[in-house]
């Protein structure tokens, strides 16, 4: 199989322009003859569903939540990047492109990243027109803040709820299309199989989460907008129900999975307080604009109240190590630096797994009211969870699993290796390389959904011969039967362990051995332990209830079953990548001062894995990363 990204020729700045001109169009009257399935209604899914419906396609949208408005994009706090240069501080499409590529440690596809930077400005226009209440200056113009990995202020925001407001904009656009009859919405419905007929994606099989009914839905194209796989770590900032099932089952049907080892650990989360925890809570990166990160210089000061540690005895380690970016060093770097000081025994709080994020200076400089205006809701959230007042004493933070850059491999048109299967947003692999910069996730989700997929899908439709497959085709029947059998198998085990206990155990393995720091040895451990745990799962779990009713235990079991297989793929990818880049840090590959050492000679490629059958190892395919515009350089934030 030849992995062709189908990148248009010409200079990077003209590729998208050329693609749009060269692509074939579907005439307005013909658009309604095409059915599109969109799975997931977060930023990318809702934006795509709304836009495709506006164009005239017949859209069916699916989400497992009770309402499409609740997808986890809603939890994004800090903001969305765009190359508007409203601050007159030297921003441009090229700079956003370059920052994103560099932030991703030169492991993203150049042409995609440039296109993302290009459409970024339109996203802000669109969202403002939809009524997203972005923060404004008194004069009425939009305001910006700065984010990690950038030296310009290009981040647009709506208090600490930017994801919520952008999602509501997309959700409302979708609601309008529902009322016009152009979208049919299926809430509380989970996709459990992708259906492939004659090598092309032709539909999905779903389970109605209220009744357990298994049904088939046929379409001319399927879009997966199902988010990332962070919950393979059990504890993460993802929602409780987030899972890899849709993209993983598509993988088993032939859609290659790229770079699963690129996972992002976010530096500023509320530290773990005990074994009972079901998830971790993020404190927006925007806090690092005004907060200063430190730990005591000496171990013996770690137990003291922070205010009693004199200035001279504090180690503002990010400012010390990365003077030009300081507290706004990118996420992967800030996370590892926190781990490092905690490993040295200088961490604070319970178990010594925490560092301070201190606002005392900013409060003194700007006043408590300004800080409250900027971050009030975040301070309140911190107080609710920890019982501590961060206006009076520094926050305690620690890194946590947050985002996954890896995902289904897609070409320039966002289509997977299966014709007709498009994958957008966090679910694909394309734009963030080995590390995502803050406020770029929202940008990518909306860019894919509003401005890229609606073009490229039309080109796919116009280039193919339309073959309508009915939903009672043999392939659908077979996929339905597979789903029923899978459900029956889960329910019949009747063992002694809870699904949660296995999920927690998997999460611990992943966090310890495949988290912020990885080694060949730790990955070998996981590659041995995960199959054992999977075996234990299929022998010894107990799932209560039946398949013909609302059964949350069964839903969780199905998702964990997929994580148990997927985790192995993730570790396999991490073991094969003998270099350190972005969020993937291998202890064997570091410089004398502990920075990541990339190996462009051997690893400047996208690793796309092909499923080869249940008992066989997946096959690695390589898409070389050819940089025409930018030179790969050593990433430095010093």
């Amino acid at each position: 199989m030849n992995l062709d990204a189908r990148i248009p020729p010409g200079p990077v700045a003209q590729k998208w322009y050329r693609y749009k001109f060269d692509m074939k169009l579907v005439s307005p009257a013909n658009k309604r003859k095409f059915d599109v399935i969109v799975v997931g209604t977060g930023l990318s899914g809702a934006a795509a569903a709304a836009t495709l419906a506006e164009l005239g396609y017949q859209v069916k949208a699916f989400c497992f939540q009770d309402s499409p408005r609740r997808a986890h994009s809603i939890a994004a706090q800090g903001g969305i990047n765009a190359a508007k240069n409203y601050q007159n501080d030297g921003d441009s499409v090229f700079r956003l492109f370059h920052d994103t590529l560099k932030g991703g440690d030169f492991r993203a596809r150049e042409a995609n990243v440039y296109r993302l930077a290009e459409v970024s400005a339109s996203i802000i226009d669109q969202c403002a027109a939809q009524g997203v209440p972005f923060a404004r200056e008194y004069g009425g113009t939009l305001t910006n803040r700065s984010f990690g990995g950038a030296q310009v202020a290009r981040t647009f925001y709506a208090r600490g709820q930017t994801g919520q407001q952008l999602l509501l904009g997309a959700y409302q656009a979708m609601c309008r299309q529902i009322s016009l009859g152009n979208i049919r919405i299926f809430p509380r419905t989970e996709m459990l199989e992708l259906v492939v007929v004659d090598g092309a994606a032709k539909g999905i099989v779903t389970r109605d989460l209220l009744t357990g009914e298994i049904s088939s839905h046929a379409a001319d194209a399927v879009v997966l907008a199902t988010g990332g796989y962070g919950n393979v770590f059990f504890l993460s900032t993802n929602s409780i129900s987030g899972n890899v099932t849709a993209t993983f089952r598509a993988w088993k049907k032939g859609a290659f999975f790229a770079n699963p080892c690129y996972t992002q650990i976010h530096p500023t989360c509320i530290p773990v307080s005990g074994d009972h925890q079901a998830k971790l809570t993020l404190m927006s990166e925007s806090l690092r604009n005004d907060g200063r990160v430190w730990v005591p210089k000496r171990r013996e000061d770690c137990g003291k109240p922070p205010a009693s540690v004199p200035e001279g005895d504090r180690d503002y380690y990010l400012e010390r190590k990365y003077p030009s970016y300081g507290n706004l060093a990118p996420r992967d770097i800030a996370s590892r630096a926190a781990k490092e000081v905690c490993d040295e025994g200088r961490g604070v709080g319970p178990g010594g797994r925490g560092v301070y994020l201190d606002f005392a200076d900013a409060i003194q400089r700007l006043g408590e009211d300004t800080i409250r205006d900027r971050y009030g809701n975040l301070f309140e959230m911190y107080e609710r969870i920890t019982g501590e007042n961060a206006y009076q004493k520094p926050m305690r933070i620690y890194p946590a699993m947050h985002y996954t850059m890896g995902g289904t491999w897609v070409d320039y048109s966002l289509m997977s290796t299966l014709p007709g299967l498009f994958v957008i947003g966090e679910a694909n692999f394309s734009d963030h390389g080995a590390n995502r910069l803050g406020a770029s996730g929202l940008m990518q989700g909306l860019g894919d959904g509003y401005f890229i997929l609606p073009y490229t899908m039309g080109h796919y439709f116009a280039s193919m011969k339309q073959v309508k497959i009915p939903a009672d085709h043999a392939e659908f029947k077979k996929a339905e039967e597979d789903v029923r059998q899978f459900t029956r198998r889960l329910l019949s085990i009747d063992g002694k362990r809870s699904v949660t206990s296995i999920h927690k155990e998997l999460g611990r393995l992943m966090w310890e051995n495949c988290g912020m720091v990885r080694s060949r040895q730790s990955l070998e451990t996981n590659l041995k332990r995960i199959p054992e745990l999977r075996e234990e799962f299929w022998r010894n779990i107990k799932v209560a209830g039946s398949g013909e009713e609302l059964n949350q235990n069964l839903e969780h079991a199905g998702r964990v079953a997929d994580f148990l297989e997927f985790a192995e793929l993730l570790c396999l990818d991490a073991r094969h990548r003998e270099e350190s880049c972005g969020g993937h840090f291998r202890v064997e590959h570091q410089t004398a001062d502990g920075e990541a050492r990339r190996d462009d000679a051997h690893f400047a490629y996208v690793a796309a894995w092909e499923f080869k059958g249940l008992d066989r190892k997946p096959e690695l395919h390589k898409e070389p990363l050819v940089y025409e515009e930018v030179k790969m350089e050593t990433r430095s934030y010093k």
Partner: protein, 258 residues
């Protein structure tokens, strides 16, 4: 800490439900309320009993999925807090806690503590949007919005659509939810063009769904996890009155040219 939990159990919409009692033993004060229920459920599952069905997703107070009435108060009575961010340190050891679903005719019970809130989606579908197709938008700074208006719109837009306002209201009125959406969009210049039809359409849908009327007792504002202000109800009433007084513009019938 230890608690006695009296939990509403109901197999499905058709079967009548009732309270059942469970013990939560040795739970930590740092646990969230839902993590306590997770622990109870894990035990029930292993005992072969049916776990308690309840809704939750983001567990950080923003998705609006969680929806429990705790000791008679939606979300448990901590100011500005959803159940998922309610921690056990706010309860007393040994306490008996009752847990019920949202109760309103327009929110039928699905199972145990889960209700059907699709009425809210249908209200938004009736007009809770600005009609602008992708690609239609003017340059974002072309329409200035004063900071005061943007902030006010944001205050209203902060609504998470959880439905606590309906659950607490003696009339099961959805006025706070609907008013928040109308205000968010009607305050902004971008939303002005369809201001009148928006308010009329969403109010009509609200009535159709079977929500009760507002008698301005203010209990909705008191339990709202995002502290949405009652002022928005006044704003919506004003917009509604204006829209009704203005009436419909006479539509010219007949086709255009071409």
């Amino acid at each position: 800490m230890n608690f006695t939990l009296k939990v509403w159990r109901q197999k499905n919409p058709e079967t009548p439900g009732g309270f059942e009692t469970y013990e939560a033993r040795d739970v930590s004060p740092d646990m969230s309320f839902l993590e306590m229920l997770d622990a109870v459920n894990e035990r029930l599952g292993l005992e072969g009993k049916t776990p308690i069905a309840f809704d939750s997703d983001c567990r950080e107070g923003i998705c609006g999925t969680c929806s429990l009435v705790i000791n008679g108060v939606p979300h448990g009575g901590r100011k500005g807090t959803t159940v998922c961010q309610l921690h056990l340190r706010h309860f007393s050891d040994g306490q008996t806690i009752t847990i019920e679903p949202w109760r309103a005719r327009a929110f039928p019970i699905v199972k145990d503590l889960i209700v059907d809130r699709s009425a809210f989606d249908r209200i938004i579908q009736a007009g809770g949007f600005i009609s602008v197709n992708t690609g239609n938008a003017p340059e974002a700074n072309a329409i200035p919005v004063s900071k005061e208006i943007a902030d006010l719109a944001m205050d209203a837009a902060a609504c998470i659509g959880c439905g606590a306002c309906v659950a607490v209201c003696k009339n099961a009125s959805a006025m706070l939810f609907v008013a928040a959406k109308v205000s968010h969009l009607n305050y902004l210049p971008q939303g002005k063009a369809e201001k009148d039809r928006r308010v009329k359409n969403v109010v009509a849908q609200m009535d159709k769904e079977g929500f009760g009327n507002c008698t301005v007792t203010g209990s909705c504002e008191a339990v709202c996890p995002k502290e949405i202000s009652l002022d928005f109800i006044a704003k919506m009433n004003r917009d509604f009155a204006v829209a009704v007084v203005k009436g419909e513009l006479k539509q010219r019938t007949g086709g255009g040219v071409g």
